[in-house]
């Protein structure tokens, strides 16, 4: 863990400096966490809600943070869990029966006013959305964020070997989808 991470943790654990440290933490991680969440829930407004929920959870549970994991992986873990909780509760609330998560997320992608990718980017996103949930998260973390497997292992509580296999399968499936639509 780098020094700034340690300073943040020290600041967060102290009641007098907690608020200041928390503001620094938000400034430092808001963008990275936003993009991680956005790629899971797809829609901007949903991503905004989930990001706020994530930081509120961090604020409430900062005392429970054990320094066995790094602050960065702890934050990603909370953000991932909040995103999945959001998707599942939305699926339950939806009046239209959804066959799977990808259908609901595909609707989010189609209706997203803040998607500015070209046709090939849209096809890539469609291919990613067709992946099973865990493979999709692994693929996004590796492909877009270039997260180390060791860190990902802490975020997703999965072995490095299983994550590598998961990424491999995801890439293969995306490749097949891209070829099939050519």
């Amino acid at each position: 863990m780098d020094n700034s991470g340690l300073d943040l943790i020290t600041g967060l654990k102290n009641e007098k400096t907690r608020e200041l440290a928390f503001n620094s933490l938000v400034k430092k991680y808001q963008e990275r966490l936003y993009w991680h969440i956005r790629k899971i829930v797809m829609d901007h407004d949903d991503a905004d809600d989930v990001l706020q929920n994530t930081f509120i959870k961090v604020w409430r549970s900062v005392d429970k943070f054990r320094e066995e994991s790094s602050l960065y992986t702890w934050l990603y873990r909370i953000a991932t869990n909040e995103s999945l909780t959001f998707i599942n509760s939305n699926k339950r609330r939806s009046l239209v029966p959804m066959n799977d998560t990808s259908e609901f997320l595909m609707n989010n992608l189609i209706s997203d006013a803040h998607f500015e990718g070209d046709e090939i980017q849209k096809r890539l996103q469609e291919a990613i959305l067709r992946l099973p949930e865990k493979q999709r998260i692994v693929f996004n973390l590796k492909y877009y964020e270039e997260m180390k497997y060791e860190d990902m292992s802490q975020v997703l509580d999965t072995s490095v070997g299983a994550l590598k296999a998961s990424f491999h399968h995801a890439a293969k499936k995306i490749e097949e989808y891209l070829k099939s639509r050519d």
Partner: protein, 149 residues
């Protein structure tokens, strides 16, 4: 990510860029909005309580509705049905009979004879009263054995 070329050549041809955008000044304003929400969280009712109440509200409403309908329909029905009225009357009758029986049984023989001897007393028994008493307290066998002596 050299291996990607081997396993997914089509994918590796695609330029790696973020196709999503955010509204203008989103990240600049985010921490202020988060701060506002945190203030509400600190002062207001805990969100999980609201959630529980919101979740249970329809169920509580339904339960209350059913309870009201049940009370308004079943209770008057129960009160005014002939069977129930008969039951009530029977209950009253058996209550008075029980009271009378306990009163009669409470009198021991000596007191009874003393009352008979007391001609000036305020208690007066008719022949029917005496017959009732004998019927209540003695079997036919007792009567025959007593009169046979």
């Amino acid at each position: 990510m050299i291996e990607l070329n081997k396993i997914a050549p089509e994918l590796s041809k695609i330029k790696k860029e973020n196709p999503f955008r955010v509204p203008e000044n989103y990240f600049e304003d985010f921490s202020a909005r988060l701060h506002e929400r945190l203030e509400v969280e600190k002062t207001g009712v805990p969100k999980y309580k609201n959630k529980v109440i919101q979740f249970l509200k329809p169920a509580i409403g339904l339960a209350a509705g059913f309870a009201l309908i049940f009370t308004l329909s079943y209770w008057p029905f129960r009160i005014f049905t002939p069977n129930e009225q008969a039951k009530n009357i029977t209950a009253v009758n058996s209550e008075s009979e029980m009271l009378f029986a306990s009163w009669v049984e409470a009198i021991d023989e000596n007191s009874f004879y003393a009352m008979l001897d007391n001609q000036n007393g305020s208690v007066y028994f008719t022949d029917d009263d005496l017959a009732d008493f004998v019927n209540t307290n003695s079997s036919e066998y007792d009567i025959y054995s007593e009169t046979g002596d």
